[in-house]
Symmetry: C2
Subunit: 339 residues, 2 copies
């Protein structure tokens, strides 16, 4: 079943059929209808390979996701998948471990799959122009931006929240509730990525409030594995550390932290308040409901695809969209009882 069959069936030429398929003008309404009818009836589906061969471009958009153990990314991928598909493109998903280099992975993928563009999900913030030379298609960083690198902002797009400011906001909320001894759970304070920024926000907030930073109150997990967060918080408690509140840089880490606190006999929020950043569906079903700054995940994914397709289709330029979080007031933060 090819374009030829349709043409023969309708008694028209292949070009006419091609025109109909590609929504080109210059086809009489009658013929157009007839061809569409035939396509439907004969269940014709154009051969993408042949089309790509001619126009020498595929229909593939790469999604390179780094850090597989963060459930926040699952939601993003789901939305990306839908959006990409709805716009007539194909998603090529590539998941890589936190240690791997996403640029290299993307460059490889680009050539293998003839990508039109790529969306990065979680990555380093310190790209240099140098290393990006391998990547010759437009890309957008989803959930982060190139804070530490030397990239010209017109060289790439990004959709993110202001991680540092949001973390600051979270800490301030704890301080506003009377807390001064605030622990933090994060993957890595120098990951050149989200962890680092949120950690900076944590420190800035402390500083602004005149609270000394205590390294003993920082739980570093290495990645976003919940078990590491659980173990880390348990150790923190066992060490006898003194704190009345805790910021986790992601919901999943917070859930693990709450579990650790509870298992060690601390009540949340009576003995320890917990706040996080992300806004997973799951975290509204913890006991108590997690108080968290929700990222607009769906919109972020949608916006990323919108930006990238505009870039691909030549109807857009590189932009940097900063999104706002919304506070979900759960039950995990309480005013510090007067000592």
């Amino acid at each position: 079943m090819t374009i030829k069959d349709i043409a023969a069936y309708c008694g028209v030429s292949v070009s006419t059929v091609s025109r109909v398929i590609n929504d080109h003008p210059d086809v009489s309404p009658a013929v157009r209808e007839q061809v569409n009818e035939a396509i439907r009836k004969l269940h014709f589906v154009p051969n993408n390979s042949a089309r790509s061969l001619v126009v020498s471009r595929s229909t593939a958009i790469g999604v390179v996701s780094r850090g597989v153990d963060n459930p926040f990314l699952s939601l993003l991928i789901r939305v990306l998948s839908r959006e990409i598909h709805d716009r007539g493109y194909t998603m090529v998903l590539h998941q890589i471990p936190t240690q791997a280099d996403e640029i290299q992975a993307a460059a490889l993928l680009q050539r293998e799959k003839k990508l039109l563009g790529v969306i990065f999900l979680g990555g380093r913030f310190n790209y240099t122009e140098e290393e990006l030379r391998q990547l010759t298609v437009p890309f957008v960083c989803c959930t982060y931006t190139n804070t530490f690198g030397n990239l010209s902002s017109s060289a790439y797009s990004s959709v993110s929240i202001h991680d540092e400011r949001e973390a600051e906001k979270a800490v301030r909320l704890l301080v506003d509730n009377g807390h001064r001894r605030i622990a933090v759970v994060l993957d890595d304070p120098a990951d050149n990525s989200i962890g680092q920024l949120r950690f900076q926000g944590y420190r800035r907030a402390l500083e602004a409030e005149g609270i000394d930073y205590d390294p003993a109150l920082a739980v570093v997990t290495g990645d976003y594995a919940m078990s590491a967060a659980y173990d880390g918080v348990c150790r923190l408690l066992d060490s006898g550390a003194d704190f009345t509140a805790l910021l986790a840089i992601s919901d999943s880490l917070a859930i693990a932290a709450i579990k650790a606190l509870t298992d060690r006999g601390r009540r949340v929020p009576e003995d320890c308040s917990v706040i996080a950043i992300d806004g997973l569906e799951m975290s509204s079903f913890t006991v108590p409901t997690l108080t968290t700054l929700c990222q607009p995940a769906e919109e972020m994914a949608e916006e990323s695809v919108r930006m990238l397709t505009a870039l691909i289709e030549g109807t857009g330029v590189h932009r940097h969209k900063l999104m706002e979080t919304t506070l979900r007031r759960g039950g995990s933060v309480a005013r510090l009882a007067r000592a």
Copy 2:
């Protein structure tokens, strides 16, 4: 940079280059080496579209996932993605709502993307040969099997647990702990899918234990949305229903149920025991830890890909693999206090 350039560069014909690329014999070692050398030096990457056009077969394996709101599927997708890629294939992921028809979606995808095969993630159990005629590539059902349909078992593959038996096992565990009034939370007792089977298991277990089935104790959520489960369990409690234990057919539903119970002032497990089936990482961090029958998700995904690629490569036949769950003893099930 095409095969032609390489040919010209080496002073050979395109066919020779093609032979080298495809590891065909009948090329002198000298020429072969020379061509390979050129390919490396000129960074030649064959055009997949052109190749697919000729051999009219892609490298794509479709993954059709139905029921986007079940986090259990996210893990499976992650593993599938890795396995498919590692075997040199490309994953084409297609997520569809619970209401959509996966066979139709797969058939469309097959033609659009020239799929070599498809893996279904969650689907109906009642396919008929009739409707499968549209799908002309091998497929494997991952996490379920065709219990209710009329499919010959040699017409498709499956990797699943024995849902009915596992649900029975879960209920029996509750009964063994003295429970007789056992509620159930499920998507739909007649979904022709996992929900239905696990519900059957629930009822069989009751029957075997001489417990009357009480329809008032069944919370039907419609899908795997946690909010629906939460609301459902709240309504159940508000109705004054009398039960001391609860089976949720998935971990995510169980987490929502625990939340509802807690919010309504019931302690888990003291006032109500909760058990589920799935084994999400997340559910080992609930308070209390969820007691659940863990599916071997990774192995199931790996096995599915292994089966499908064997089928594609003509080195395997359709098989049906039944996996075992393992009980994770959490803290959500307790012996019923003597009344």
